[in-house]
């Protein structure tokens, strides 16, 4: 994305790659149901959209601001458990619960992010990892509230007496959420805030001497990413009708980071491709039975070795190279 923007000629056309990405995502979401043979495909696509939403958010933190979080699934967990705990234990309807969960997730990100973002590189990674593990531990241990390691059911959403259910309904809900998420991310990327974040990624020192408040901006990106993740978590829980602490697990966090990097850091479309690959590939690889884990690991290595910028930026690069 950044690459495309970088080489496009002057002022008036700077908006266009942004629009292209948005239109592309919208068209994909709109057209897929026409070609899908069964609800199962809708289910897989809905999972790609929800994961994609979280990854687009994480990409703002990793791809734009250049900060790695190894505990991002924790925010997914906050969103997911909010819609589980709210209706079950507190009598709050699902949608207000979801909004409360998203707000809580932003608040937690802000409180946790303040001290954590004084750390750099791997130290930041291990601090976010620690935070994620602590949250997952709470979700697993406080069985009275969370149902413990086996998770808990989530009440179905009811809107004006209409029970929100069915694969196609959820496909559209998650698809629209994704499109909104992508649009906002693209807006941010092209704004003064986004510019400052990108600057931070390349040289924090240079950004700070021109007045960019690095700590505040990183915190902003962290909070935004947390909001995306919590939204994704709430959608996932409502769609599944069930949550388990796996949602917030370390492995899930690692999966999100892998999605960002594989698709291509800094690229919104890349984030979606990353999510699509890691969600859909295991579905396709089931034919390999027990070789699945090994093949998936092998594919991740091969992708990263040959397209080290990530799939989308890497392929764009290859494509340009061929044309020359």
């Amino acid at each position: 994305m950044t690459d495309a923007a970088a080489t496009s000629p002057p002022s008036r056309r700077t908006w266009s790659p942004r629009l292209v990405s948005l239109v592309f995502v919208t068209v994909v979401v709109a057209v897929l149901p026409l070609v899908f043979p069964s609800n199962y495909y809708l289910r897989v696509a809905s999972l790609v959209w929800t994961s994609g939403l979280a990854v687009v958010g994480l990409n703002l933190l990793m791809g734009l601001a250049g900060q790695v979080s190894l505990g991002h699934a924790a925010f997914l967990g906050i969103g997911a458990y909010a819609v589980a705990i709210g209706p079950t234990h507190l009598g709050v309807p699902p949608i207000p619960s979801a909004l409360a969960g998203i707000a809580l997730s932003a608040l937690v990100a802000w409180i946790v992010g303040k001290p954590i973002f004084r750390l750099k590189g791997y130290y930041l990674a291990v601090a976010t990892l620690g935070f994620g593990l602590l949250l997952a531990l709470v979700l697993t241990s406080e069985s009275a509230w969370t149902g413990g390691p086996d998770g808990m059911p989530v009440e179905r959403v009811e809107l004006f007496g209409w029970r929100v259910t069915g694969a196609l309904t959820w496909y559209w809900i998650t698809g629209v959420a994704l499109i909104i998420g992508v649009a906002l991310a693209l807006n941010l990327e092209a704004s003064p805030t986004g510019r400052a974040l990108r600057a931070l990624h390349d040289s924090e020192v240079a950004a700070s001497v021109v007045g960019v408040d690095a700590a505040r901006l990183k915190l902003t990106a962290f909070v935004v990413a947390a909001v995306y993740a919590a939204t994704s978590g709430a959608l996932l829980a409502l769609m599944n009708g069930f949550v388990t602490p796996d949602t917030a697990s370390f492995m899930h966090s690692v999966e999100f980071v892998t999605m960002v990097v594989i698709g291509g850091m800094g690229s919104v479309v890349g984030a979606l491709v990353g999510a699509a690959i890691l969600v859909a590939l295991p579905q396709a690889l089931t034919v390999l039975q027990e070789y699945e884990t090994a093949v998936l690991g092998l594919l991740i290595m091969v992708f990263m070795i040959f397209l080290r910028q990530g799939i989308v930026p890497g392929l764009i690069g290859l494509f340009r190279g061929m044309r020359r």
Partner: protein, 270 residues
């Protein structure tokens, strides 16, 4: 700028600054004042502590001793971003370019403090954001024009030659509308024509009322452009004076210029 100013306030005042790294005194008792409109240069052999001094003044290092004041106000140990708000900006000896952005975007980042849109406006891409982007871009293009890079504006910064990057850094620093500008070897790696252009640029910036503090190895440039010069040797101040005084000072010739420097200073004289 609300607090009382000390009399005869310098734009930048460095008072007895020193710093130690792991017990080694890298800088000791350095003091100087730079006034609006002047070019104040700091010279010295490699390892004299010039860049370290810049890093203290710009808030990257916290000094072990001494004070830094900007426009008469205490500024010791403030974070770089806060110093920038006080009107201090700088360039870097080892380039700190935003390599993944275009040249003009690099300068646009320099306009960060002047940008008025809020976070939520940015998120929703309100019309004000579009207007702000256009205004920022126009200002950045004007600055690129000023440093002679207008036709490279939309090139990725990573693809620009070294000399152009040096000037790009100056444009980015100028974008903050600084009161004090620290330039760390702006002419390094530039050919004669480019050096001449930088000379004129620095001159014009100072003319505009900015206090320019310059670290530079090109003696010819330094002697020609500076109003006063501080000579640092092994982290300690040796002399402060006009180019003529410095050139004439035997301690400088002995301690720093040496036989090689002597000829260079002589050449600069011609």
């Amino acid at each position: 700028m609300t607090a009382t100013r000390t009399s005869n306030a310098a734009a930048l005042e460095v008072d007895g600054v020193g710093i130690s790294f792991g017990g080694i005194r890298a800088l000791d008792g350095v003091s100087f004042r730079a006034h609006p409109g002047e070019v104040f240069s700091i010279i010295g052999p490699n390892g004299a502590g010039k860049t370290t001094l810049f890093n203290i003044v710009s808030g990257l290092y916290r000094p072990t001793s001494g004070r830094v004041r900007i426009a008469g106000q205490e500024a010791t140990g403030l974070a770089p971003a806060r110093l920038a708000r006080r009107g201090l900006s700088r360039t870097f000896q080892n380039l700190q370019i935003f390599f993944r952005m275009t040249a003009v975007e690099n300068v646009m980042v320099g306009r960060h403090m002047a940008e008025k849109t809020g976070f939520f406006a940015d998120l929703l891409a309100l019309p004000s954001v579009g207007r702000q982007n256009r205004a920022t871009r126009a200002a950045a293009l004007a600055l690129l024009d000023r440093v002679g890079l207008a036709d490279l504006a939309d090139q990725p910064a990573g693809a620009l030659p070294y000399g152009a990057l040096k000037r790009l850094e100056i444009a980015r620093a100028l974008a903050t509308e600084p009161k004090v500008l620290l330039l760390d070897e702006p002419a390094a790696g530039c050919n004669a024509v480019e050096t001449e252009e930088i000379d004129q640029l620095i001159h014009a910036v100072a003319e505009g009322g900015v206090a320019v503090v310059l670290v530079e190895h090109d003696m010819k440039l330094v002697m020609k452009i500076s109003s006063r010069i501080l000579v640092l040797v092994q982290g300690k101040p040796l002399v402060v004076g006009t180019p003529a005084e410095v050139r004439a000072d035997p301690r400088v010739i002995e301690a720093y210029l040496g036989s090689h420097g002597e000829t260079e200073a002589a050449r600069a004289d011609r």
